[in-house]
Protein backbone atom coordinates (compact mmCIF):
# COMPACT_ATOMS: atom_id res chain seq x y z
CA UNK A 1 0.00 0.00 0.00
CA UNK A 2 1.26 3.47 -0.77
CA UNK A 3 -0.37 5.59 1.94
CA UNK A 4 0.31 8.78 0.02
CA UNK A 5 -2.02 7.68 -2.82
CA UNK A 6 -5.03 7.75 -0.51
CA UNK A 7 -5.77 11.32 0.43
CA UNK A 8 -8.63 10.26 2.73
CA UNK A 9 -6.20 8.78 5.20
CA UNK A 10 -5.90 10.88 8.33
CA UNK A 11 -2.48 11.86 9.64
CA UNK A 12 -2.98 9.40 12.50
CA UNK A 13 -3.78 6.53 10.10
CA UNK A 14 -0.64 7.37 8.22
CA UNK A 15 1.43 7.32 11.37
CA UNK A 16 -0.06 4.00 12.43
CA UNK A 17 0.62 2.46 9.00
CA UNK A 18 4.19 3.74 9.14
CA UNK A 19 4.72 2.42 12.62
CA UNK A 20 3.35 -1.00 11.76
CA UNK A 21 5.52 -1.41 8.72
CA UNK A 22 8.53 -0.28 10.73
CA UNK A 23 7.90 -2.71 13.52
CA UNK A 24 6.96 -5.81 11.58
CA UNK A 25 8.74 -5.79 8.28
CA UNK A 26 12.10 -4.23 9.10
CA UNK A 27 12.37 -3.16 5.46
CA UNK A 28 15.79 -1.65 4.83
CA UNK A 29 15.59 2.03 4.01
CA UNK A 30 16.58 2.86 0.46
CA UNK A 31 19.36 5.15 1.64
CA UNK A 32 20.47 3.01 4.56
CA UNK A 33 24.03 1.81 4.48
CA UNK A 34 24.70 -1.83 5.25
CA UNK A 35 26.67 -2.19 8.44
CA UNK A 36 30.38 -2.14 7.68
CA UNK A 37 30.86 -5.47 9.43
CA UNK A 38 28.49 -7.21 7.03
CA UNK A 39 29.83 -8.85 3.92
CA UNK A 40 27.75 -8.66 0.75
CA UNK A 41 26.71 -12.28 1.27
CA UNK A 42 25.34 -11.56 4.74
CA UNK A 43 23.14 -8.71 3.63
CA UNK A 44 21.65 -10.68 0.74
CA UNK A 45 20.41 -13.43 3.07
CA UNK A 46 18.14 -11.88 5.63
CA UNK A 47 17.20 -14.54 8.16
CA UNK A 48 13.48 -15.29 8.38
CA UNK A 49 11.63 -13.73 11.33
CA UNK A 50 11.09 -16.01 14.32
CA UNK A 51 8.09 -15.74 16.60
CA UNK A 52 7.80 -16.72 20.26
CA UNK A 53 4.93 -16.63 22.73
CA UNK A 54 5.03 -14.57 25.91
CA UNK A 55 2.53 -13.96 28.69
CA UNK A 56 2.78 -11.07 31.12
CA UNK A 57 0.54 -8.74 33.07
CA UNK A 58 0.07 -5.17 31.93
CA UNK A 59 -1.72 -2.76 34.24
CA UNK A 60 -3.29 -5.68 36.10
CA UNK A 61 -4.51 -7.50 33.01
CA UNK A 62 -2.85 -10.70 31.81
CA UNK A 63 -1.98 -10.70 28.12
CA UNK A 64 -0.54 -13.39 25.86
CA UNK A 65 1.21 -12.37 22.67
CA UNK A 66 2.89 -14.19 19.83
CA UNK A 67 5.72 -11.89 18.82
CA UNK A 68 8.61 -11.56 16.43
CA UNK A 69 11.53 -12.15 18.82
CA UNK A 70 12.92 -8.73 17.85
CA UNK A 71 9.92 -6.88 19.30
CA UNK A 72 10.97 -4.61 22.14
CA UNK A 73 8.76 -4.31 25.19
CA UNK A 74 8.03 -0.75 24.06
CA UNK A 75 6.82 -1.89 20.62
CA UNK A 76 4.74 -4.66 22.18
CA UNK A 77 3.02 -2.14 24.42
CA UNK A 78 2.48 0.46 21.72
CA UNK A 79 1.91 -1.53 18.54
CA UNK A 80 0.37 -4.75 19.83
CA UNK A 81 -1.47 -3.64 22.98
CA UNK A 82 -2.15 -0.08 21.74
CA UNK A 83 -0.92 1.44 24.98
CA UNK A 84 0.64 4.50 23.40
CA UNK A 85 1.45 6.35 26.62
CA UNK A 86 5.05 5.15 26.77
CA UNK A 87 6.86 6.98 23.97
CA UNK A 88 9.65 6.10 21.61
CA UNK A 89 12.16 8.92 21.84
CA UNK A 90 15.76 7.89 21.20
CA UNK A 91 15.11 4.11 21.15
CA UNK A 92 18.51 3.58 22.75
CA UNK A 93 17.97 4.07 26.47
CA UNK A 94 19.17 7.63 26.71
CA UNK A 95 16.02 9.76 26.85
CA UNK A 96 13.71 7.86 29.21
CA UNK A 97 10.49 8.60 27.27
CA UNK A 98 9.79 4.84 27.18
CA UNK A 99 10.09 4.36 30.96
CA UNK A 100 7.66 1.81 32.42
CA UNK A 101 7.59 0.05 35.79
CA UNK A 102 8.42 -3.67 35.61
CA UNK A 103 7.97 -5.76 38.77
CA UNK A 104 8.20 -2.55 40.82
CA UNK A 105 11.30 -1.17 39.10
CA UNK A 106 11.45 1.40 36.34
CA UNK A 107 13.18 0.34 33.15
CA UNK A 108 13.71 1.59 29.59
CA UNK A 109 11.14 -0.48 27.70
CA UNK A 110 12.98 0.27 24.43
CA UNK A 111 16.06 -1.66 25.59
CA UNK A 112 14.28 -4.85 26.50
CA UNK A 113 12.83 -7.63 24.40
CA UNK A 114 9.17 -8.31 25.11
CA UNK A 115 9.78 -12.07 25.12
CA UNK A 116 12.20 -11.66 28.03
CA UNK A 117 9.35 -10.66 30.34
CA UNK A 118 7.49 -13.93 30.72
CA UNK A 119 5.39 -13.69 33.91
CA UNK A 120 6.37 -10.08 34.63
CA UNK A 121 4.02 -7.43 35.92
CA UNK A 122 4.27 -4.18 33.95
CA UNK A 123 2.74 -0.83 34.81
CA UNK A 124 2.55 1.88 32.16
CA UNK A 125 1.29 5.45 32.52
CA UNK A 126 -2.18 4.10 31.58
CA UNK A 127 -2.08 1.91 34.69
CA UNK A 128 -1.13 4.67 37.12
CA UNK A 129 -4.27 6.76 36.74
CA UNK A 130 -7.16 7.64 34.47
CA UNK A 131 -8.44 11.03 33.30
CA UNK A 132 -11.21 10.73 35.94
CA UNK A 133 -8.97 9.45 38.68
CA UNK A 134 -5.47 10.83 38.28
CA UNK A 135 -2.51 9.38 40.12
CA UNK A 136 -1.28 11.99 42.65
CA UNK A 137 1.89 12.41 40.56
CA UNK A 138 -0.15 13.10 37.43
CA UNK A 139 -2.19 15.69 39.34
CA UNK A 140 1.02 17.27 40.68
CA UNK A 141 2.52 17.55 37.18
CA UNK A 142 -0.61 19.46 36.12
CA UNK A 143 -0.61 21.64 39.23
CA UNK A 144 3.10 22.54 38.86
CA UNK A 145 3.08 22.77 35.06
CA UNK A 146 5.67 19.99 34.86
CA UNK A 147 5.54 19.65 31.07
CA UNK A 148 5.20 21.61 27.89
CA UNK A 149 4.87 19.48 24.74
CA UNK A 150 4.12 16.40 26.86
CA UNK A 151 6.09 13.85 24.87
CA UNK A 152 8.45 12.92 27.71
CA UNK A 153 5.76 13.23 30.39
CA UNK A 154 4.57 9.59 30.64
CA UNK A 155 8.18 8.52 31.15
CA UNK A 156 8.85 11.37 33.56
CA UNK A 157 5.81 10.41 35.65
CA UNK A 158 6.66 6.69 35.73
CA UNK A 159 10.17 7.67 36.81
CA UNK A 160 8.93 10.18 39.37
CA UNK A 161 6.63 7.64 41.02
CA UNK A 162 9.59 5.23 41.14
CA UNK A 163 11.95 7.86 42.59
CA UNK A 164 9.72 8.27 45.65
CA UNK A 165 9.52 4.51 46.06
CA UNK A 166 13.31 4.08 45.69
CA UNK A 167 13.96 6.71 48.35
CA UNK A 168 11.35 5.07 50.61
CA UNK A 169 13.18 1.75 50.17
CA UNK A 170 16.50 3.42 51.08
CA UNK A 171 18.15 2.84 47.70
CA UNK A 172 21.13 5.23 47.54
CA UNK A 173 22.07 7.46 44.58
CA UNK A 174 25.28 9.05 43.30
CA UNK A 175 24.59 12.19 45.39
CA UNK A 176 23.63 10.42 48.63
CA UNK A 177 26.25 11.77 51.07
CA UNK A 178 26.23 8.88 53.54
CA UNK A 179 25.85 5.46 51.93
CA UNK A 180 24.86 3.92 55.25
CA UNK A 181 22.10 6.43 56.06
CA UNK A 182 18.63 6.60 54.57
CA UNK A 183 18.62 8.90 51.52
CA UNK A 184 16.63 12.11 51.87
CA UNK A 185 14.11 13.47 49.43
CA UNK A 186 15.84 16.66 48.28
CA UNK A 187 16.02 18.62 45.04
CA UNK A 188 19.59 17.35 44.55
CA UNK A 189 18.46 13.72 44.94
CA UNK A 190 15.53 14.23 42.56
CA UNK A 191 17.77 15.81 39.92
CA UNK A 192 20.28 12.96 40.05
CA UNK A 193 17.64 10.24 40.09
CA UNK A 194 15.84 11.73 37.08
CA UNK A 195 18.97 12.11 34.94
CA UNK A 196 17.73 9.26 32.73
CA UNK A 197 14.69 11.29 31.64
CA UNK A 198 15.32 14.10 29.19
CA UNK A 199 12.85 16.98 28.72
CA UNK A 200 13.73 18.99 25.63
CA UNK A 201 11.19 21.67 26.60
CA UNK A 202 13.11 22.16 29.83
CA UNK A 203 10.34 21.72 32.39
CA UNK A 204 12.83 20.33 34.91
CA UNK A 205 12.35 22.82 37.74
CA UNK A 206 8.58 22.33 37.67
CA UNK A 207 9.00 18.55 37.55
CA UNK A 208 11.15 18.76 40.70
CA UNK A 209 8.42 20.86 42.36
CA UNK A 210 5.78 18.27 41.43
CA UNK A 211 7.79 15.36 42.86
CA UNK A 212 8.66 17.27 46.03
CA UNK A 213 4.98 18.13 46.46
CA UNK A 214 3.87 14.50 46.23
CA UNK A 215 6.77 13.49 48.48
CA UNK A 216 5.63 15.99 51.09
CA UNK A 217 8.71 18.23 51.04
CA UNK A 218 9.57 21.66 49.69
CA UNK A 219 12.03 21.58 46.77
Amino acid sequence: MNPLSDVKLTRRDLLIAGALSASTAAVPLANAQPAANQSADDTSTTPAPVTTGVTFTVNGKQVSLQLDTRTTLLDALREHLHLTGAKKGCDQGQCGACTVIMDGRRINSCLSLAVMHEGASITTIEGLGTPDKLHPMQAAFIKHDGYQCGYCTPGQICSSVSVLEEIRQGIPSHVTADLNAKPLLSAEEIRERLSGNICRCGAYSNIIDAIADVGGVKA
Binding site: A26, Q33, P34, A35, A36, N37, Q38, D42, T46, P47, A48, P49, V50, T52, D68, T69, R70, T72, D91, Q92, G93, G96, T99, M102, R105, R106, I107, N108, L111, S112, L113, V115, M116, E118, S159, S162, V163, E166, Q169, G170, I171, P172, S173, H174, T176, L179, N180, R191, E192, R193, S195, G196
Partner: protein, 317 residues
Protein backbone atom coordinates in the same frame (compact mmCIF):
# COMPACT_ATOMS: atom_id res chain seq x y z
CA UNK B 1 17.70 -5.72 13.69
CA UNK B 2 18.52 -9.12 12.19
CA UNK B 3 16.11 -11.93 13.04
CA UNK B 4 17.27 -14.39 15.70
CA UNK B 5 15.98 -17.43 17.51
CA UNK B 6 15.25 -17.07 21.21
CA UNK B 7 15.46 -19.69 23.90
CA UNK B 8 15.07 -19.49 27.68
CA UNK B 9 17.87 -21.40 29.39
CA UNK B 10 16.92 -23.98 32.01
CA UNK B 11 20.32 -24.49 33.61
CA UNK B 12 23.76 -22.90 33.48
CA UNK B 13 25.30 -25.99 31.88
CA UNK B 14 22.54 -26.17 29.26
CA UNK B 15 22.94 -22.45 28.50
CA UNK B 16 26.70 -22.84 28.08
CA UNK B 17 26.24 -25.85 25.78
CA UNK B 18 23.60 -24.07 23.71
CA UNK B 19 25.77 -21.03 23.10
CA UNK B 20 28.88 -23.13 22.45
CA UNK B 21 27.25 -25.33 19.83
CA UNK B 22 24.86 -22.86 18.12
CA UNK B 23 26.61 -20.76 15.48
CA UNK B 24 26.71 -17.06 16.32
CA UNK B 25 24.77 -17.45 19.58
CA UNK B 26 24.90 -15.04 22.50
CA UNK B 27 23.70 -14.99 26.09
CA UNK B 28 21.27 -12.22 26.99
CA UNK B 29 20.72 -11.02 30.57
CA UNK B 30 19.82 -7.34 31.04
CA UNK B 31 20.41 -6.72 27.36
CA UNK B 32 20.90 -2.97 27.75
CA UNK B 33 24.13 -2.93 25.73
CA UNK B 34 23.56 -5.96 23.48
CA UNK B 35 20.11 -4.85 22.25
CA UNK B 36 21.34 -1.35 21.60
CA UNK B 37 24.09 -2.80 19.39
CA UNK B 38 21.70 -5.26 17.73
CA UNK B 39 19.40 -2.42 16.67
CA UNK B 40 22.34 -0.86 14.85
CA UNK B 41 23.36 -4.29 13.48
CA UNK B 42 26.77 -3.91 15.06
CA UNK B 43 25.93 -7.11 16.91
CA UNK B 44 24.05 -9.62 14.74
CA UNK B 45 23.52 -12.81 16.76
CA UNK B 46 21.56 -15.58 15.07
CA UNK B 47 20.43 -16.98 18.41
CA UNK B 48 19.85 -15.51 21.87
CA UNK B 49 19.91 -17.66 24.99
CA UNK B 50 18.09 -15.87 27.80
CA UNK B 51 19.77 -16.62 31.13
CA UNK B 52 17.42 -14.50 33.26
CA UNK B 53 15.57 -17.51 34.62
CA UNK B 54 18.67 -19.21 36.05
CA UNK B 55 18.71 -17.60 39.49
CA UNK B 56 22.26 -16.37 40.26
CA UNK B 57 20.52 -13.35 41.76
CA UNK B 58 21.66 -13.39 45.37
CA UNK B 59 24.65 -12.07 47.29
CA UNK B 60 26.03 -14.63 49.74
CA UNK B 61 28.89 -14.56 52.25
CA UNK B 62 31.91 -16.73 51.36
CA UNK B 63 33.85 -18.89 53.81
CA UNK B 64 36.86 -16.56 53.63
CA UNK B 65 34.88 -13.50 54.75
CA UNK B 66 34.06 -12.08 51.34
CA UNK B 67 30.90 -11.98 49.24
CA UNK B 68 29.79 -14.01 46.24
CA UNK B 69 27.69 -11.83 43.94
CA UNK B 70 25.38 -13.73 41.60
CA UNK B 71 25.91 -12.96 37.91
CA UNK B 72 22.30 -11.79 37.57
CA UNK B 73 22.26 -9.46 40.58
CA UNK B 74 21.07 -6.17 39.10
CA UNK B 75 23.36 -3.14 39.41
CA UNK B 76 20.78 -1.35 41.60
CA UNK B 77 20.64 -4.27 44.04
CA UNK B 78 24.41 -4.66 44.24
CA UNK B 79 24.89 -0.94 44.93
CA UNK B 80 22.14 -0.93 47.57
CA UNK B 81 23.17 -4.11 49.41
CA UNK B 82 23.90 -3.16 53.05
CA UNK B 83 27.09 -5.27 53.19
CA UNK B 84 28.41 -3.76 49.96
CA UNK B 85 27.62 -0.23 51.12
CA UNK B 86 29.43 -0.83 54.42
CA UNK B 87 32.44 -2.97 53.42
CA UNK B 88 32.88 -2.31 49.69
CA UNK B 89 31.76 1.32 49.46
CA UNK B 90 33.96 1.92 46.41
CA UNK B 91 31.85 -0.63 44.54
CA UNK B 92 28.55 0.98 45.56
CA UNK B 93 29.90 4.39 44.61
CA UNK B 94 31.17 3.18 41.24
CA UNK B 95 27.85 1.52 40.38
CA UNK B 96 25.86 4.59 41.38
CA UNK B 97 28.10 6.79 39.23
CA UNK B 98 27.22 4.75 36.15
CA UNK B 99 24.28 4.94 33.74
CA UNK B 100 20.75 5.90 34.86
CA UNK B 101 18.50 4.22 37.42
CA UNK B 102 16.42 2.68 34.60
CA UNK B 103 19.54 1.00 33.19
CA UNK B 104 20.92 -0.05 36.61
CA UNK B 105 17.58 -1.70 37.37
CA UNK B 106 18.04 -3.93 34.33
CA UNK B 107 21.80 -4.28 33.95
CA UNK B 108 23.41 -7.29 35.63
CA UNK B 109 26.75 -7.85 37.34
CA UNK B 110 28.01 -10.15 34.58
CA UNK B 111 26.56 -8.05 31.76
CA UNK B 112 28.24 -4.95 33.14
CA UNK B 113 31.62 -6.72 32.88
CA UNK B 114 30.75 -7.95 29.38
CA UNK B 115 29.54 -4.68 27.90
CA UNK B 116 31.56 -3.85 24.83
CA UNK B 117 34.69 -1.75 25.05
CA UNK B 118 33.67 0.90 22.60
CA UNK B 119 33.97 4.34 21.07
CA UNK B 120 31.85 6.52 18.76
CA UNK B 121 33.62 5.10 15.70
CA UNK B 122 32.60 1.59 16.77
CA UNK B 123 28.99 2.79 16.81
CA UNK B 124 29.24 4.49 13.42
CA UNK B 125 28.95 1.67 10.89
CA UNK B 126 30.14 3.96 8.09
CA UNK B 127 33.58 4.14 9.77
CA UNK B 128 36.41 1.63 9.80
CA UNK B 129 36.67 -0.27 13.04
CA UNK B 130 38.86 -3.26 13.92
CA UNK B 131 36.35 -4.29 16.58
CA UNK B 132 33.40 -4.42 14.19
CA UNK B 133 35.34 -5.76 11.25
CA UNK B 134 38.73 -7.17 12.21
CA UNK B 135 41.46 -5.90 9.93
CA UNK B 136 39.46 -3.00 8.49
CA UNK B 137 41.43 -0.31 10.32
CA UNK B 138 40.68 2.23 13.03
CA UNK B 139 39.01 5.49 12.08
CA UNK B 140 39.41 6.81 15.62
CA UNK B 141 43.20 7.02 15.24
CA UNK B 142 43.72 10.41 13.68
CA UNK B 143 40.07 11.29 14.37
CA UNK B 144 38.40 13.02 17.28
CA UNK B 145 39.84 11.32 20.36
CA UNK B 146 38.71 13.26 23.43
CA UNK B 147 37.22 10.13 25.02
CA UNK B 148 39.84 7.63 23.88
CA UNK B 149 42.50 5.58 25.62
CA UNK B 150 45.85 7.05 26.57
CA UNK B 151 47.48 3.94 28.07
CA UNK B 152 47.53 0.30 26.97
CA UNK B 153 46.14 1.12 23.52
CA UNK B 154 47.45 -0.31 20.26
CA UNK B 155 47.65 0.71 16.62
CA UNK B 156 44.50 -1.37 16.08
CA UNK B 157 42.21 0.17 18.72
CA UNK B 158 42.11 3.10 21.15
CA UNK B 159 38.63 2.53 22.64
CA UNK B 160 38.01 2.65 26.41
CA UNK B 161 36.06 0.28 28.62
CA UNK B 162 33.12 2.34 29.89
CA UNK B 163 32.22 0.38 33.04
CA UNK B 164 32.49 2.11 36.39
CA UNK B 165 31.69 -1.11 38.25
CA UNK B 166 34.61 -2.93 36.65
CA UNK B 167 37.06 -0.30 37.93
CA UNK B 168 35.96 -0.98 41.50
CA UNK B 169 36.00 -4.76 40.90
CA UNK B 170 39.60 -4.46 39.66
CA UNK B 171 40.55 -2.39 42.70
CA UNK B 172 39.05 -5.04 44.99
CA UNK B 173 40.72 -7.94 43.11
CA UNK B 174 37.40 -9.64 42.43
CA UNK B 175 37.30 -13.04 40.76
CA UNK B 176 34.96 -13.96 37.91
CA UNK B 177 33.50 -17.44 38.34
CA UNK B 178 32.29 -19.28 35.25
CA UNK B 179 30.97 -22.56 33.90
CA UNK B 180 32.09 -23.84 30.51
CA UNK B 181 30.17 -25.87 27.96
CA UNK B 182 31.89 -29.08 29.15
CA UNK B 183 30.55 -28.41 32.65
CA UNK B 184 33.93 -27.44 34.13
CA UNK B 185 34.17 -24.36 36.28
CA UNK B 186 36.93 -21.84 36.75
CA UNK B 187 37.71 -18.65 38.60
CA UNK B 188 39.37 -15.83 36.65
CA UNK B 189 41.11 -12.98 38.50
CA UNK B 190 39.55 -9.74 37.25
CA UNK B 191 43.05 -8.50 36.37
CA UNK B 192 43.20 -11.20 33.69
CA UNK B 193 39.56 -11.07 32.63
CA UNK B 194 39.60 -8.12 30.21
CA UNK B 195 42.21 -8.01 27.45
CA UNK B 196 44.21 -5.15 26.05
CA UNK B 197 43.43 -4.57 22.35
CA UNK B 198 46.71 -5.63 20.75
CA UNK B 199 46.04 -6.85 17.23
CA UNK B 200 42.71 -8.46 18.16
CA UNK B 201 40.56 -5.71 19.69
CA UNK B 202 37.39 -7.64 18.80
CA UNK B 203 38.28 -10.18 21.52
CA UNK B 204 37.69 -8.28 24.73
CA UNK B 205 37.76 -10.96 27.44
CA UNK B 206 39.41 -14.33 28.06
CA UNK B 207 36.05 -16.14 28.10
CA UNK B 208 35.78 -19.14 25.78
CA UNK B 209 32.80 -19.65 23.45
CA UNK B 210 29.80 -20.62 25.58
CA UNK B 211 31.55 -19.87 28.87
CA UNK B 212 28.95 -18.40 31.22
CA UNK B 213 29.67 -16.15 34.20
CA UNK B 214 27.81 -17.47 37.26
CA UNK B 215 29.13 -15.15 39.97
CA UNK B 216 31.74 -12.60 40.93
CA UNK B 217 33.62 -13.19 44.17
CA UNK B 218 34.73 -10.26 46.32
CA UNK B 219 37.64 -11.03 48.67
CA UNK B 220 37.28 -10.16 52.34
CA UNK B 221 36.90 -6.42 53.01
CA UNK B 222 40.06 -4.28 52.87
CA UNK B 223 38.91 -1.64 55.36
CA UNK B 224 40.29 1.87 54.88
CA UNK B 225 38.69 4.85 53.19
CA UNK B 226 36.92 4.01 49.93
CA UNK B 227 36.29 6.55 47.18
CA UNK B 228 35.22 6.60 43.53
CA UNK B 229 35.73 9.93 41.81
CA UNK B 230 34.29 10.25 38.33
CA UNK B 231 35.01 13.29 36.20
CA UNK B 232 32.68 13.73 33.23
CA UNK B 233 31.28 16.33 30.88
CA UNK B 234 27.98 16.57 32.77
CA UNK B 235 26.97 15.91 36.36
CA UNK B 236 25.09 12.66 35.75
CA UNK B 237 24.53 9.90 33.22
CA UNK B 238 27.70 10.24 31.16
CA UNK B 239 30.80 8.13 30.64
CA UNK B 240 33.90 9.08 32.58
CA UNK B 241 36.57 11.24 31.05
CA UNK B 242 38.62 9.91 33.94
CA UNK B 243 37.53 8.04 37.04
CA UNK B 244 39.71 7.14 40.01
CA UNK B 245 38.85 4.41 42.50
CA UNK B 246 40.85 4.36 45.72
CA UNK B 247 41.07 2.44 48.95
CA UNK B 248 43.43 4.15 51.35
CA UNK B 249 44.43 2.46 54.60
CA UNK B 250 45.23 4.21 57.88
CA UNK B 251 49.01 3.66 57.38
CA UNK B 252 48.86 5.58 54.08
CA UNK B 253 49.19 2.53 51.85
CA UNK B 254 46.39 1.68 49.46
CA UNK B 255 45.16 0.78 46.01
CA UNK B 256 44.30 2.83 42.93
CA UNK B 257 42.45 1.87 39.76
CA UNK B 258 41.60 4.24 36.94
CA UNK B 259 38.80 4.31 34.39
CA UNK B 260 38.33 6.20 31.14
CA UNK B 261 41.97 5.82 30.13
CA UNK B 262 42.35 2.29 28.75
CA UNK B 263 40.75 -0.66 27.00
CA UNK B 264 40.28 -2.29 30.41
CA UNK B 265 40.21 -1.19 34.05
CA UNK B 266 43.67 0.29 34.62
CA UNK B 267 45.60 -0.65 37.72
CA UNK B 268 49.37 -0.85 38.15
CA UNK B 269 50.26 -2.54 41.44
CA UNK B 270 53.80 -1.19 41.25
CA UNK B 271 52.42 2.36 41.29
CA UNK B 272 50.69 1.65 44.57
CA UNK B 273 54.07 1.05 46.21
CA UNK B 274 54.70 4.78 45.65
CA UNK B 275 51.78 5.87 47.87
CA UNK B 276 54.14 7.18 50.58
CA UNK B 277 55.77 9.48 48.00
CA UNK B 278 52.42 11.12 47.27
CA UNK B 279 49.88 11.28 44.46
CA UNK B 280 52.31 12.59 41.83
CA UNK B 281 54.62 9.61 42.16
CA UNK B 282 51.70 7.18 41.96
CA UNK B 283 50.09 8.90 38.98
CA UNK B 284 53.43 9.21 37.15
CA UNK B 285 53.88 5.45 37.39
CA UNK B 286 50.20 4.71 36.53
CA UNK B 287 50.34 6.85 33.41
CA UNK B 288 53.90 5.93 32.41
CA UNK B 289 54.20 5.50 28.66
CA UNK B 290 50.95 7.34 27.97
CA UNK B 291 50.35 8.03 24.28
CA UNK B 292 48.16 11.06 24.00
CA UNK B 293 46.70 13.28 21.31
CA UNK B 294 45.90 16.96 21.37
CA UNK B 295 42.30 15.96 22.19
CA UNK B 296 42.99 13.70 25.18
CA UNK B 297 46.33 14.81 26.68
CA UNK B 298 44.29 16.43 29.46
CA UNK B 299 43.45 12.96 30.79
CA UNK B 300 46.95 12.49 32.21
CA UNK B 301 46.73 15.73 34.18
CA UNK B 302 43.20 14.82 35.22
CA UNK B 303 44.34 11.49 36.66
CA UNK B 304 47.04 13.33 38.65
CA UNK B 305 44.61 15.86 40.06
CA UNK B 306 41.75 13.46 40.75
CA UNK B 307 44.08 11.08 42.56
CA UNK B 308 45.60 13.92 44.58
CA UNK B 309 42.13 15.01 45.64
CA UNK B 310 41.17 11.46 46.63
CA UNK B 311 44.36 10.99 48.67
CA UNK B 312 43.93 14.35 50.41
CA UNK B 313 40.32 13.59 51.26
CA UNK B 314 41.30 10.18 52.66
CA UNK B 315 43.91 11.81 54.91
CA UNK B 316 41.25 14.07 56.36
CA UNK B 317 39.07 10.98 56.91
Amino acid sequence: MKAFTYQRATSAAQAAQLVARTPNARFIAGGTNLLDLMKLEIETPAALVDVNGLGFDSIEPTTDGGLRVGALVRNTDLAADARVRKDYAVLSRALLAGASTQLRNKATTSGNLLQRTRCPYFYDTAQKCNKRQPGSGCAAIGGYTRHHAVVGASDACIATHPSDMAIAMRLLDAEVETVKADGSMRSIPIADFHRLPGNTPHIETVLEPGELITSVKLPKPLGGVHAYRKVRDRASYAFALVSVATVILPDGSGRVAVGGVAHKPWRVEEAERQMAQGAKAVADRLMAGARTTEDNAFKVALVHRTLAEAMNAAKKG
